[in-house]
């Protein structure tokens, strides 16, 4: 009896701990999101009543996010960057998956570790090293030949490359894992049934990889969208959303419009994450 009761108490305590953890997890997100609907100039208590002004109002001082030029521009740049990064990293990730699963690349294990390394390099370092190299390269070109290459200076292309440098690892890992599960005799079967190599790739292999590619693309998109550390060093005049928000936050007296943006981003990324989970749900198990 004694042990049963002790067990029961232990389990209750355990459950309580888990519940407390999820409260801890949710608290800042709820705080960041809910003040978006507070009819006040400050994201703080007391609660002044419900409003959607911080989304849709078009006049100062309660300028809503959908009328705030700088925020919208930041959103747009973030979107452009994220699209570029996810397209590029899904492409490279797919190539890498084939490279590591299908070819007899010499020193494969070594290269595989090399592929993982970018993920464990701090983002700040990636940012400054790419900035340093690009600038040195650009300076060298300018001094020696008088050629000015704009994309080597801080700006959108450099941000895309900087984020891509470690996001490609994530997509590679996701797509490689899926390709490893692929039964290669399926390709042989298709080949045997008369399909050409290209047709095998497009009708058998890529459709099998598609869920992983979509999921990897979504992950890449989200990671890019929220990235700050690498972006900070590479950004030019076109600030993506995180940088714009950071600038505002650092200023005292940020208005609940930032909460509105936070809410919007949380809903957006939550929805995308859900899509990626749904896509990856394996429909194709034999």
């Amino acid at each position: 009896m004694g042990t049963a009761r002790a067990n029961w108490a232990f389990l209750l305590g355990y459950r309580f701990y888990v519940a407390a953890f999820f409260v801890f997890l949710a608290a800042p997100l709820i705080a960041a999101g809910s003040f978006a609907f507070n009819d006040s100039l400050f994201p703080a208590l007391p609660w002044q009543g419900f409003t959607l002004d911080w989304f849709f109002n078009d006049t100062e001082p309660k300028l809503g996010m959908f009328h705030d030029r700088r925020l919208l521009r930041g959103l747009y740049y973030s979107f452009v960057i994220a699209c570029g990064v996810s397209a590029l990293s899904v492409f490279v990730g797919t190539c890498n998956a084939f490279l590591f699963v299908r070819t007899d690349l010499p020193a494969k294990n070594f290269f595989y570790i090399v592929m993982i390394v970018p993920l464990v390099i701090p983002g700040v370092i990636l940012g400054i090293s790419i900035l340093a190299m690009a600038s040195q390269f650009a300076n060298g070109l300018e001094e020696a030949h008088g050629i000015e290459l704009g994309f080597l200076r801080p700006g959108l292309p450099l941000v895309v490359l900087g984020q891509f440098s470690f996001i490609a690892t994530i997509t590679s890992l996701v797509i490689t894992a899926r390709l490893r599960k692929f039964d290669a005799t399926m390709e042989e079967a298709a080949y045997n049934l008369g399909a050409s190599r290209l047709r095998v790739l497009t009708t058998i292999t890529l459709p099998f990889l598609r869920p992983a590619m979509i999921a990897a693309g979504i992950v890449a998109f989200l990671v890019s969208f929220e990235n700050f550390n690498t972006t900070l060093f590479l950004v030019g005049s076109e600030s993506p959303l995180t940088i714009t928000m950071f600038d505002r936050m650092a200023k005292v007296g940020s208005t609940p419009v930032l909460n509105a943006v936070s809410f919007f981003l949380m809903i957006g990324s939550g929805a995308l994450a859900l899509v990626s989970v749904l896509v990856q749900r394996d429909r194709t198990k034999v």
Partner: protein, 289 residues
């Protein structure tokens, strides 16, 4: 074209993107950074090669104190994240029933996709002088003046643990998930107590997940910028902040590159030590998650 040629061409075409990526965006930039770090500014547009930047770093206690502080706080954060996260991961993987398990795992993942910035922002709203906690405490009469909970080390540590927690839980859940329940049952069946089973069976089995979680968490923490700045204020003395200052504010790229190089060397050393001590490999841990 023979079968062999096609094979070679395929290998080459597949290797090219990988090589370009690693070479142009990882290897060359780091060489460039090393080059900058070894370049000493002795006058306007005049440089000299040497370890001057490193010497300068060694001579200035503020610099290496900050690095040590960043390193030790990162280790603390990693340990805390493991201690706090392990029971949660175990609950999700082994105790929760099938349905709640998926839901809890999703709950764990959703904050993963919310930017650091928003999470730190949420903490600010909760903790600052005019924040939710301060005003709530005032409202129920526990305190009579606003209390500032931001800008201290405890808050920074909590904020960092919060930020990186999910990167600890996800690899842990995926390793624990692969563990056969009967192994735990066999442990009890053979007369082990709860603690023995945990120490002798569960933890050794989860080791790859633990190591992988710790590596990612440590790297993320040591390289984090937003959370220490926003929660710790301008005086949080975080090493990445100094890098930023040298690079962007003072425009002293040589010093910035030196600092970056040192941060990278330091974190790599810690990760290498961790791998050696736990007898794991990078490919066996990080790549799995």
């Amino acid at each position: 074209m023979s079968q062999r040629d096609i094979k070679r061409l395929t290998l080459f075409l597949l290797f090219a993107p990988f090589a370009l990526w690693i070479l142009l965006l990882i290897v060359l930039p780091h060489i460039g950074m090393g080059y900058l770090a070894l370049r000493e500014k002795i006058g306007p547009r005049q440089y000299e090669f040497g370890f001057g930047n490193f010497v300068e770093f060694a001579m200035e206690p503020i610099y290496w104190n900050t690095l040590l502080r960043t390193g030790s706080m990162s280790l603390l954060v990693t340990a805390l994240a493991l201690i706090v996260g392990f029971p949660i991961a175990y609950y999700i993987a082994k105790i929760a029933n099938y349905r709640t398990r998926g839901a809890m795992f999703l709950l764990c993942l959703i904050p993963l996709w919310v930017s650091d910035l928003i999470r730190a922002f949420g903490w600010i709203l909760l903790l600052r002088e005019t924040g939710v906690i301060s005003s709530s405490l005032q409202a129920i009469g526990l305190i009579d003046a606003p209390v500032e909970l931001l800008y201290n080390d405890v808050t920074v540590v909590i904020g960092l643990v919060y930020t990186v927690m999910l990167f600890m839980i996800v690899p842990l859940v995926s390793t624990l998930d692969g563990m056969d329940n009967s192994m735990i049952e066999a442990g009890y069946n053979l007369g082990g107590s709860g603690l023995t089973v945990l120490r002798r069976i569960i933890i050794p089995y989860a080791m790859p997940g633990i190591v992988s979680g710790c590596i990612i968490v440590f790297m993320l923490t040591a390289g984090s910028y937003l959370t220490p700045i926003l929660l710790g204020g301008k005086n949080s003395s975080w090493f990445t902040e100094m890098i930023y200052e040298q690079f962007i504010t003072r425009y002293n790229w040589e010093a910035g590159a030196t600092f970056g190089f040192l941060l990278l060397a330091f974190t790599s050393l810690v990760v290498w030590l961790g791998l050696k001590l736990s007898r794991q490999t990078l490919a066996g841990t990080v790549a799995r998650s």
